[in-house]
Symmetry: C2
Subunit: 364 residues, 2 copies
C-alpha cells in the first residue's frame, strides 16, 4: 500500500472571525465543540489506512508548532512549511515532489484541513475506491458532492460520460466557478453537476507531470528545491525559491485545463474524473454551514463551545463562545454571537458574508 | 459654616449587572464614561463648600478600600463602615450620632452616591438655600424633582401649603410610593407632586431626635455605640451593635410619619418640607435612565466606556463596554449590550427590569 494523505492546512479562515484569525485559523480550532480541532478530525476521518509516515501536512511556517502539538504522531519531516501563501498549485507541487523523492510510486489523496463529513464509513469507501482508480494511471479523480441546495458559494463539476459504472466514476467535462443564483438553480436541477469539494486523488508522478506540463517554470523551481529535500538545507532553499512560484490554484493550473481534454502524462493518457459522492459534507466555510452541522436546542439555537451561555427568549442563533466570557443573551432572533481573543461579534446570520468587512471596522 | 455632606454609598446596584456587581457596585464605577466614578462625581457636585473633614461616607465594610482610593482627601474616620445592610435609617443614625458627637451644631445634607445632575450650579443653589432653611430648626427638607414623565419607578412627594415663597419651599402632605401607571399619570398632571430624589437636609440634632422619637430602640443602640466613636474600638462596637438595628428606610421610619403631622423635636416644632427643584436629575437606576443621560451617535446609540466598539446598522442601543473586549455589533435595534468581569449581557432594552432574573440564569 503506497497511499499517502496530503492535508492542505495553510488557510487563514477569515470568514469565521473572531473565532478564526490569521494567528489561529479555523483548522486549528475545535470549531464544532467536540474536543478535536478540524485538522485532527480530518486526519481521524481518513483512518488507520494512512500510517503517520504517510500523512503530510502543508501549512504556513507560522503554524508549525500548532501542527506538531495537534498531530504529535506525524514525523517532523512530513510537515511542509510554506514561507508564503502561493495558492494550491505550489502547495501541491512542493509536497508531490517531496513525497515522490522518497516514495516514487506514491498515490496521493489531497484534502483540505477544515471540512466536515457525516458518514465516515462511506467517506473512506469513496477514498479507497478512488485511490484504486487512479493508482498506476495518469488520471486525476475529484470527489463531487451531491448538491443539497442551489448553493452559490461552491464551484460545480460538470460530469460527462461514464468511465467506470462499477466504481461510479465519470469523466469531467468542465469545472464551473461559483454561479449566480439562477445558474445555481439550473445546476441543482441537473444531475450532471456536483459540488467541487477540493478533494482529489492522483499519483505523485501524475501531479508532477501535470504541473510540469502546465506550469513548467514552477516545475523547474521544484526540481531545484528537490535537491535539498530531507536535508538540513531544505527549509532554507524552500524559503528562497518557493516565493518565486506563480500564485495559482490547482483548479486553474491543472484541473480546468485538463477537463474534457485528456493529455499524455508520463507516457499514458491522463484526464480528470469525478466520483459523485454522498456522505454528508460541508466545507464549514461559513457560520451558516456550521450552524447547519451542529445540534440545536428547542429554540433552534446552536450553541458551541463554552458551557456558561444562557439563552433567554432567543431563537435561531449560532453562539460560539471561547469560554473566556460568560454570556446572557436575551431576545435575539437569527444572530451570530461569537467571541474570541477579546473580541465579540454580534451580527445577523443573514449578513455573515460581510464578516470580513465587519472585522475591518475595528481599530487595530 | 457647620455644613456637612453625608453620602450613602452602600448599595449593590444589581440592576446594572454585569457592569455593576456586589463586589464592585455602580457608585464605584465610571458609569458615564467620563473618567470619574459616580461617587467621585457626587462629591465633586457638592463643591468646595464642603471641606473634606465635613464629608462623610457611609458604606459597607467591603468597600472601604474603594472609597479610600477614590476619595483620598476624605479622612479615614469620616468613612463609616456598616457591618451589614440595614436600610437607610441605621445608616443615617450612625452618621448623625457620630457627626453630632464632634460637631453638635452640624447641619447635614444626605445624598445617595449614584445619582446624576445636569445643572450643578442650580443644584448647589438649591442645597445652599435648603441648608439655610433647616439650620437651627427642627425641620427636615427634601428635594422634590419636577417630573418629566409619568414615571412608575420613583416615589412621589405630595406638597401642601407654601412655607417660604422666597425660598420656594412647601409643606409635605404625604409621601407616595411608586405608583401604577394610571396614578403616575394623575401625579404627572398635578403640580403638587414631585419625585422623591432621596436627598434631604436637617440638623444632626433633628436627625437624632427624630430617630429617638420614632425608633427609640435604635436610638438606644446608637447611644451605646456613640461611646466608642473616634476611638480604636469604634468598629468593633459597631460590628456588634449595628446588626441589632431595625431594618427600615428613613422614608418609612421618619419622613412618612412626620409628613403632614409636625412634632415637637428638640423643644421646637419640626415638620417635613419640600423644595421643588429643576436641575436635570436622574437616579441612574436603570440602563434606560443611563441611556437618557448620555450622548447618542447619529443612530441613537449611546456608547459608553471603551473606545473599540464598532456599531454597524445598529440603532437605539446602549452599549457599555468594560474595555476588556472589543465589540462589533451589527443589526441590533433597541438592545443593551454590556460586558464586565468576563460576563456579557445582550438583552432588549425594554426588558431591563428583568436583568436581575437574567443574571441569575448563569451558573455561579
Amino acid at each position: 500500500m503506497n497511499r499517502h494523505l496530503v492535508i492542505m492546512a495553510g488557510g487563514i479562515g477569515s470568514r469565521f472571525w473572531p473565532m478564526s484569525r490569521p494567528e489561529n485559523p479555523k483548522q486549528f480550532i475545535d470549531v464544532l465543540g467536540v474536543g478535536r480541532t478540524l485538522l485532527q478530525l480530518t486526519v481521524d476521518r481518513f483512518g488507520k489506512d494512512f500510517k503517520p509516515e504517510h500523512v503530510w501536512i502543508v501549512t504556513s511556517a507560522a503554524y508549525k508548532e500548532k501542527v506538531r502539538e495537534q498531530l504529535p504522531d506525524i514525523p517532523e519531516e512530513n510537515i511542509l512549511l510554506e514561507p508564503c501563501m502561493r495558492n494550491t498549485t505550489p502547495c501541491i507541487g512542493y509536497v508531490a515532489w517531496k513525497i515522490r523523492k522518497k516514495y516514487p510510486d506514491a498515490t496521493l489523496v489531497v484534502s483540505p484541513a477544515d471540512h466536515f463529513v457525516v458518514d465516515t464509513q462511506e467517506f473512506r469507501r469513496c477514498i479507497s475506491t478512488g485511490l484504486d482508480f487512479v493508482a498506476g494511471s495518469s488520471n486525476i479523480l475529484t470527489l463531487g458532492m451531491k448538491p443539497t441546495r442551489p448553493d452559490t458559494g461552491y464551484g460545480y463539476i460538470q460530469s460527462g460520460d461514464v468511465a467506470s459504472s462499477e466504481k461510479n466514476i465519470l469523466e469531467v467535462n468542465a469545472f464551473r466557478e461559483k454561479p449566480d443564483l439562477q445558474t445555481a438553480k439550473q445546476y441543482y436541477s441537473d444531475c450532471k453537476y456536483n459540488w467541487n469539494a477540493g478533494i482529489f486523488m492522483w499519483d505523485a508522478s501524475t501531479a508532477e507531470a501535470a504541473i510540469r506540463m502546465f506550469e513548467p517554470e514552477m516545475a523547474v523551481l521544484f526540481d531545484k528545491m528537490s535537491e535539498s529535500f530531507y536535508t538540513a538545507k531544505e527549509q532554507e532553499v524552500v524559503n528562497e525559491l518557493f516565493p518565486q512560484c506563480n500564485k495559482i490554484s490547482i483548479d486553474y493550473a491543472v484541473m480546468e485545463r485538463l477537463a474534457g481534454k485528456p493529455q499524455q502524462l508520463n507516457g499514458q493518457k491522463g484526464g480528470v474524473y469525478v466520483m459523485p459522492s454522498d456522505f454528508g459534507w460541508s466545507d464549514l466555510g461559513t457560520w451558516g454551514s456550521l450552524y447547519a452541522q451542529t445540534s440545536k436546542d428547542q429554540n433552534e439555537n446552536a450553541i458551541i463551545g463554552a458551557e456558561n451561555i444562557s439563552m433567554i427568549e432567543s431563537t435561531d442563533c449560532i453562539v460560539r463562545a471561547s469560554g473566556q466570557i460568560k454570556m446572557v443573551l436575551q431576545g435575539l432572533d437569527g444572530y451570530i454571537v461569537a467571541d474570541d481573543n477579546g473580541t465579540l461579534l454580534v451580527c445577523k446570520k443573514n449578513q455573515e458574508q460581510r464578516i470580513k468587512e465587519f472585522s475591518e471596522t475595528l481599530k487595530k
